[in-house]
């Protein structure tokens, strides 16, 4: 009986530990103007068939679940308080802040959860006066796979532009994330 109780507590605490972005998604997904999409693993797998490159296909298949919540066009139901609450809770629940940018009215926050040399969860929050976006990716993105993906980006750029000089150290994919 005791074991059963411990198991129950552990299961419940495990669910609450990983549920910060989930809570925000479920709270607002039925609001007016919300664009809420949850892509399960099988849908992502089917989506990957349409990618030309094997590396891209492989990478996409590592994503187990993708969740997107978008509000556009003013009167955002997600308040600043929600954002702060999310941020504080997320930090308590093993989601670590990678990057935060605020430029004028725009705030971008990138959080991630890492375990055993792989990114298990990536959460991107974007808040503008008229737009809000919450993007969550869950899966097992190994550093080796990310490395392989990064290797391809500059090569593709070179092929397109046909130039070697002035090539930035950081690939475009990463630069665009931290571009202001």
């Amino acid at each position: 009986m005791k074991q059963l109780l411990v198991c129950l507590i552990l299961t419940l605490s495990g669910a609450s530990l990983s549920a910060q972005d989930y809570a925000m998604y479920w709270k607002y997904k039925d609001y007016d103007g919300a664009v809420a999409v949850t892509a399960p693993r099988w849908a992502i797998h089917i989506g990957s068939w349409f990618l030309g490159e094997k590396t891209d296909r492989k990478m996409l298949r590592k994503v187990r679940k993708a969740r997107v919540l978008v509000f556009e066009g003013g009167n955002l139901p997600v308040s600043e308080y929600d954002m702060q609450r999310f941020y504080h809770k997320a930090k308590q629940r093993n989601l670590e802040e990678l990057l935060s940018v605020r430029s004028a009215d725009t705030r971008v926050l990138v959080l991630a959860k890492e375990r055993r040399r792989a990114l298990r969860k990536i959460v991107v929050l974007v808040r503008e006066p008229e737009t809000f976006a919450l993007i969550t990716l869950r899966g097992k993105l190994r550093y080796e796979d990310i490395g392989k993906l990064l290797e391809r980006i500059p090569k593709e750029k070179q092929q397109k532009e046909g130039e070697e000089e002035g090539r930035p150290l950081l690939p475009d994919g990463v630069r665009s994330v931290i571009r202001i």
């Binding site: 990057l99 935060s100 940018v101 890492e114 490395g147 950081l170 690939p171 931290i178 202001i180």
Partner: protein, 173 residues
């Protein structure tokens, strides 16, 4: 027992003094963090840690990895359309604890002032502070971690952040 009772407040005081060193700069960042005239960027130690774990066959990436491998944080407060850039520059300048930092570089180019300080211990630079002030420009950048000055200019090529470009001046000098 008495010894322990004496040691505890002493340790607390010491810890307080150590953390207070950067307080002035931290306060400056905090003061303008929500000011919409500024762009604020924070790259966490975790981000640098993650980047340093990703290896590729690309030599440029490996160079970048070497640079960020030792870094533990980057904070940038920048604005390029500000009316009181010089005033802010002077404000920030007054707040830099001169005793803690060694001045590495001072550039005055027209109305633009650039200053770079470093903090080192045992010949290892563990903090770099960059301050830029012009009539309509202001940048305050704080970079922490194990910093190699020879390679730091590579960071400005890698990160497309306003203000970080001034780090290239470290190499030129």
């Amino acid at each position: 027992m008495k010894k322990i009772l004496l040691l505890v407040p002493l340790c607390l005081l010491l810890a307080g003094a150590l953390t207070a060193q950067n307080d002035a700069i931290n306060r400056f960042f905090t003061q303008y963090m929500d000011d919409e005239r500024f762009t604020v960027v924070f790259v966490s130690p975790k981000m640098f840690n993650l980047v340093s774990k990703i290896s590729t066959d690309d030599p440029d990436w490996e160079k970048f990895r070497d640079v960020v491998g030792g870094l533990t944080g980057l904070r940038v407060l920048t604005s390029d359309s500000i009316s009181d850039g010089l005033k802010l520059y002077k404000d920030a300048l007054a707040k830099v604890p001169a005793a803690e930092y060694d001045e590495l570089l001072t550039v005055r180019d027209g109305k633009e002032n650039v200053r770079i300080w470093v903090k080192d211990s045992d010949n290892i630079i563990n903090e770099l502070l960059l301050l830029v002030g012009g009539t309509d420009e202001f940048v305050l950048l704080s970079l922490t971690g194990k910093i190699d000055l020879d390679q730091i200019s590579n960071l400005s090529k890698g990160l497309d952040i306003d203000g970080v470009k001034h780090l290239e001046k470290v190499k030129k000098n």
